[in-house]
């Protein structure tokens, strides 16, 4: 709005007009600013954007690896199949955890601290259940001979699912910390929003990975 070309004083017949306009522009009162998105939430959203690109890198690498291997090697004939049904149920558990946190966030915003606390604890419990079931499935798969180095299929499986699991564990630590501070009565909407943004990312990412790695 103030990108008029600069002219030497006195050379332009519009100079005085411009000057008056400038005067108007600078004396107009400017409203005090408030953040559109709270800083803590914005920071996590930026992190989530970077994480989304990280997983985009992993999944496109996965697709390239799968396309290069061909159907007979994906998975190789002598390697175990993935537990599609168990993981489908487990996916629902994780989605339920996300829904529980959303309910908790809503309750907190409406001032119902107790139900917010309960919903966050439920979300945490469901999240832990998801990670535990995933872990036990991993143990079984390793027992059947699917390891990180047994085939490219195995490498990609543990890479993608493992990267997601690490994010889930990290987010669960944050959720646990959030549940604790809610119990002690000093949670805030911003913190809830920040932890929530990251957990929704972890929850929302999983169905994509499930379809890519297990089903498709």
């Amino acid at each position: 709005m103030r990108n008029r070309p600069v002219r030497p004083a006195g050379t332009s017949r519009v100079a005085s007009v411009m000057n008056a306009a400038n005067g108007l522009a600078v004396t107009r009162p400017r409203p005090a600013r408030r953040p559109v998105v709270p800083s803590a939430v914005l920071a996590v959203l930026v992190l989530v954007a970077a994480e989304a690109m990280f997983f985009a890198g992993l999944t496109s690498a996965f697709l390239v690896g799968k396309a290069g291997a061909g159907p007979l090697l994906w998975p190789p004939l002598d390697q175990p199949r993935l537990p599609v049904a168990t993981t489908a149920v487990n996916t629902l558990v994780l989605l339920a955890s996300g829904v529980a946190l959303a309910i908790g966030q809503r309750a907190f915003a409406r001032g119902r601290a107790r139900s917010a606390r309960r919903a966050v604890t439920l979300s945490l419990g469901l999240g832990v259940a998801f990670v535990v079931v995933q872990g036990s499935e991993w143990v079984r798969l390793v027992g059947y001979g699917l390891t990180m180095t047994s085939s490219t299929f195995g490498s990609f499986f543990y890479l993608l699912v493992g990267a997601h699991a690490l994010h889930a564990v990290g987010a669960l630590v944050a959720l646990g910390w959030l549940a604790r501070s809610l119990r002690q009565g000093h949670g805030s909407r911003d913190v809830l929003g920040a932890v929530g943004a990251f957990w929704y990312f972890v929850v929302g990412l999983w169905p994509v990975l499930y379809v890519l790695v297990y089903v498709w």
Partner: protein, 587 residues
């Protein structure tokens, strides 16, 4: 209360708010009277959360790394000019040592010099000062960012002394050469190198989160989107660009690290992997990375030339939109690095077109800068010399890039010294010339003293003459077919001609001139710290908010938090007696 982040600040009025206590509704500015800084040496200079100290920590680390990277260039350029003779101060450069020197020269100059100086150094120092707040939104995250960066530098330097020596597979680290110790003979150096890069990336991700959040949420009252100084915009856009491009490279780096140490075969074709995959993941990051470092450099130059030409930045919004457009477009040009790697020729055509198109917005930005200079009252302070030199030298880099972007020409020029000369004509203006412009410009603000102009001009001419003497001859040798990955041309008869060798010697002499000129800078920098003339708050009569703070700014930056009334480039406004109009001065 923000997420575990703001606990450094003990002033109760500030506990619940954003760091910037500028707005009235956050607590009265009077709260700043009680804003105490740290007291002991360690908490002031080493473990500080003050954005200025962290910015300077990044800068000093970057300068030390620049000296190390420069010394490496000295060693391998001496080897190229005077092959197989011991290099004074270094010793004999064997083939493995040569590879390691070139690899780490590139990696250091990009990841440990350009990035920390331009984004982290200037970003940390300038953003809170220029948007008128007292610190970053997340000061402790900021400190953690520098600490991780410092660790990454140590890990990188450690990779030189492990068994097998430093990694020598080029800064692009292409597999399968990089993926196995049996190929690259550096079973320890390669994983350490990769780990150093990964740690450094996490450091910059933390820093970038801070920059974006701070610039969006902590601006002084009255500072609207179009009142933000261009350098702040450019650093923020560069941070967004880095955020969006680093992910795929980190993914690739993890896969490569697993290949190196865990026995996977993501990139080994013999075991079902795909080496081209790495190149895509790398260059998907690698090309935006050029703009990640270019944009802050352009921003610094914008500040310098408007102040020293006493003119408004020409077409502020056009430059801003162009920058955002270029940033977005830089994601679809990456495969121009892979024209000879066996990609589909139809895809090569597509990437040729996008690559040639991206030169249009950059050209437009350069024209806007030249239009800013046009008719200005130019005063050639040292910073202005460097600023104008940036425009001229970067133009050469950009124009030669058009040759390389055309796939037909690139097939011939790929891996020759033409490529080396081209990217040094982009990166040296960015990482060296623009950084010097910024240091000479903001030194009075950083340390409260003025630098010596005579020594500055000696430094400038030495740097510029040296730089062009190095790389102009390399365009010629490259066009003549000089392959870039050869440690001694005496083993290749058709390249060992007198004509080519004499040009290599000229380039090495240029390198010596350029290195020698830096002593003028170091002497000037250190001497001015002690004996420089004391600087007033606003020695250049500039408009932006950092000049409203004392020189050097104390902890908390401003005695009275500023309010912004106008844009940052109101120079030579008709009808005013002063030829500048600071952003914080009421009409």
């Amino acid at each position: 209360m923000a997420l575990t982040v703001d606990a450094e600040h003990t002033v109760p009025a500030r506990r619940r708010g954003a760091p910037a206590s500028h707005d009235g509704h956050r607590g009265a500015p009077a709260a700043h009277g009680g804003h105490h800084g740290p007291t002991s040496f360690w908490s002031t200079y080493v473990f500080s959360t003050d954005h200025k100290v962290i910015g300077l920590q990044y800068m000093f680390t970057g300068m030390v790394m620049a000296l190390i990277g420069g010394f490496m260039a000295y060693a391998f350029r001496m080897q190229l000019a005077f092959p197989d003779q011991p290099v004074p101060g270094f010793g004999l450069v064997t083939p493995n040592v040569y590879n390691s020197l070139v690899t780490n020269h590139g990696a250091i100059m990009i990841f440990w010099v350009a990035m920390p100086m331009l984004i982290a150094g200037f970003g940390n120092f300038l953003i809170p000062l220029m948007i008128g707040c007292d610190d970053m939104v997340f000061p402790r995250l900021n400190r953690l960012s520098y600490q991780l960066f410092f660790v990454s530098a140590i890990v990188l330097l450690a990779s030189f002394v492990v068994p097998g020596g430093g990694f020598g597979g080029a800064w692009t680290s292409y597999p399968p050469l990089s993926s196995s110790g049996t190929f690259n003979h550096t079973p320890w150096g390669a994983p350490l190198w990769l780990a150093a890069v990964a740690i450094e990336f996490i450091a910059f991700l933390l820093g970038g989160i801070n920059f974006i959040t701070t610039a969006m949420n902590a601006r002084a009252p009255g500072m609207r989107m179009w009142d933000i100084p261009m350098v702040v915009w450019m650093i923020v856009i560069a941070s967004i660009l880095f955020m969006a491009s680093a992910g795929p490279l980190i993914a690739g780096a993890i896969m490569l690290l697993l290949d190196q140490v865990a026995g996977t075969h993501f990139f080994t074709p013999a075991a079902g992997g795909d080496p081209l995959l790495w190149q895509h993941l790398f260059w998907f990051f690698g090309h935006p990375e050029v703009y990640v470092v270019l944009l802050p450099a352009m921003g610094i130059v914008a500040e310098v030339i408007t102040v020293h030409a006493r003119k408004k930045l020409f077409a502020y919004k056009t430059i801003l939109y162009t920058t955002a457009g270029t940033a977005a477009f830089s994601f679809v040009v990456w495969a121009h690095h892979q024209f000879v790697a066996g990609i589909d020729p139809r895809m090569a055509n597509l990437f040729t077109i996008t690559t040639l198109l991206i030169s249009i917005p950059i050209g437009e930005m350069l024209f806007c800068y030249i239009a800013t200079l046009w008719g200005g009252s130019i005063e050639f302070k040292t910073s202005m010399l460097f600023g104008v030199a940036f425009l001229a030298e970067f133009l050469l880099g950009g124009v030669t890039g058009i040759f390389l972007g055309a796939s037909a020409v690139d097939v011939y020029l790929h891996d020759t010294y033409f490529v080396v000369a081209h990217f040094h004509y982009t990166f040296v203006p960015i990482a060296i010339i623009a950084v010097f412009a910024g240091i000479y410009h903001w030194y009075p603000k950083m340390f409260g003293r003025l630098m010596d102009e005579t020594l500055g001009k000696i430094h400038f001419w030495g740097t510029i003459i040296g730089f062009n003497t190095i790389f102009l001859p390399l365009f010629v040798t490259g066009a003549a077919g000089d392959h870039r990955r050869i440690y001694s041309y005496q083993h290749f008869q058709q390249l060992a001609t007198d004509g080519l060798q004499s040009l290599r010697v000229v380039a090495t002499v240029g390198m010596l001139i350029m290195l020698l000129a830096q002593t003028a800078f170091i002497v000037n920098f250190v001497r001015s710290l002690v004996r420089g003339a004391p600087a007033a708050a606003n020695p250049w009569r500039a408009n932006t908010l950092e000049w409203a703070a004392p020189s050097p700014p104390p902890h908390g930056n401003f005695a009275e938090m500023p309010t912004v009334y106008r844009g940052p480039y109101e120079y030579s406004v008709p009808g005013r007696t002063e030829d500048y109009w600071p952003q914080n001065v009421p009409a």
